[in-house]
Symmetry: C2
Subunit: 352 residues, 2 copies
Amino acid sequence: MTSVKKIVVLKGDYIGPEIMTAGLAVLDAATKDTTFAYELIDAPFGGDGIDRAGDPLPQSTIDVSKQADAVLLSAIGGPKWDNAPRRPEQGLLEIRSKLNLFANIRPTKVTAAQIDRSPLKPEYVENTDFVIVRELTSGAYFGKPRKLEAHQAIDTMYYSEEEVTRIMHQGFKMAQKRNKHVTIVDKSNVLATSKFWRKIANEVGKSYQDVTIDYYYVDAMTMAIMAKPTTFDVVIIPNLFGDILSDEAAQITGSIGQIPSMSVGESGPNLYEPIHGSAPDIAGQGIANPISMVNTVAMMLTESFDEKRIADKITAAVDYIIENHCVTPDMGGTMTTDEVTQKMVDYIKNYE
Amino acid sequence: MTSVKKIVVLKGDYIGPEIMTAGLAVLDAATKDTTFAYELIDAPFGGDGIDRAGDPLPQSTIDVSKQADAVLLSAIGGPKWDNAPRRPEQGLLEIRSKLNLFANIRPTKVTAAQIDRSPLKPEYVENTDFVIVRELTSGAYFGKPRKLEAHQAIDTMYYSEEEVTRIMHQGFKMAQKRNKHVTIVDKSNVLATSKFWRKIANEVGKSYQDVTIDYYYVDAMTMAIMAKPTTFDVVIIPNLFGDILSDEAAQITGSIGQIPSMSVGESGPNLYEPIHGSAPDIAGQGIANPISMVNTVAMMLTESFDEKRIADKITAAVDYIIENHCVTPDMGGTMTTDEVTQKMVDYIKNYE
Ligand SMILES: CC(C)[C@H](C(=O)O)[C@@H](O)C(=O)O
Ligand SMILES: CC(C)[C@H](C(=O)O)[C@@H](O)C(=O)O
């Protein structure tokens, strides 16, 4: 007997709940008549956390997440909470920290079917397939002191040996299962934390003799992501630089409305989320692209539950709607979120 | 009588001197039979500074630069000085600081003639024409403490009110002479220095009623530079983010071997330099692309000496060699640096 998996659902803000509904409908369809059993646990978070519980990350949400097998998060934030004492993003930073989710993993893939969506010429992006491993719980995001005063402001970039070592192992291990190539990104010609980052990368790399390493300064890397994205496999990058370059990487695919991500820790549940924002401008119109959330659900099934066969059904459904142009306006289609979702559900029902 | 302008020449490393020679040959040709008189003052700097004077920025170079009307710098650094106590890049950071060059200005322009060189599809980059104004003497590059210890490392991002205010005025003033649109880049949803940056931008912006402002988080901006580069005019950005995004901006043109930049202070000489590196891999082969240095010379003539007519001759020569495909291998041509330079010199001689 498989146990019932606990999935905490943080439904998000603006278009967040719209695409979460879609993702859960697809999850329901894909798991029907399988042995995979799950329970959904709704918890307040982000703007929804502020509205329902007075804080973007209520203690109850931390507690229930720690006990879960996976956390499924949709896009959060937006103008409604611009003046909240703690904004929705604060909850995001804090849940990463509280669940010790030190690595954010983002696949960047350009398939033949989708290559036309890229702003880059096809000869540049064809066959791009790399993964960004971004450090997520330290660096400039969490370093102290952080001060905003009347006439000056300060942030601190900090890395400890342990923090850098564990993210390196995470990245090198992923590379061993992929194409055995790691790219280290830093600004070690200027920053002390980057010199430190590169030094530890070099040391950790020695215990992965089957993996080749190269090093890029972050400014050179920002060019290389555009000029030769096919040359990368696993990219290990500090928190702040990772925030910037993982969005650049998403943009070269031209499909930001489709990309999932996962954040992982040493133990405890992974957190899964689409990489895009809550798109207040199109919220409530029923036209949000559900693909990112559906792909996020598939990623969760594969990575947290080892249910690759169920995930494959979902991926096939996504391929099907794209090929048949059953898509929302952002992808040049005319369908609503619900219509696209229904197409995927129908496809999965008839899948054998 | 015009006075004789003093130009300090920091000739650079690896391909640095090769393209500096080209730039100076073009300067000589373009100023012949004009009233513009200048004197070149050679000073040791970067790797060349280490070799000739034991330091990447000897005091004598600081002194002579402070007295100059302009400083012309070529690409510096390279593996030869990897283990020097102070590396060439250290000299670069320090000269910016010592000459108080707080703003780095980088044009990003995609002309019809050059559009094919871009890795982006033409419909994305056509008519791109913006300028990045990067803060250059503070932020993460200069903040203290900066510590590299055995088990941890620290950098500090710092901004004072004065530092942010002056770069804002610089950017807003440029916008008034251009398309009256400023884009402020920061990470104010996370960093204190970025909240501070945005707050001051907003305040300073009020005294430029003719200029419209928009705000981007740096991660969103990295996408926008690729997805809609034509929507920008003047982009004002902190030091570290500017390092990254100005290279991304260069890459969308596909013509990094052609782009000049200038660094300016409150008073004292501006510093002019190509944006690319010293390319140790092709040094000594006589095939370095001289266009960036030639454009840098033209920028100096316009911005420091108000010699737009002389600069126009140079720009016309650059256009001429590109149109006639008299270019180096990196641009798909077969000519040497000297041959390309000679073509430009000949063109200028016959220019009327
Ligand atoms: C919303 C924001 C705080 C967050 C970050 O900067 O990490 C986001 O950009 C991301 O990449 O997940
Ligand atoms: C060489 C390096 C220190 C420098 C910088 O980071 O500022 C360079 O990348 C630049 O942009 O001028």
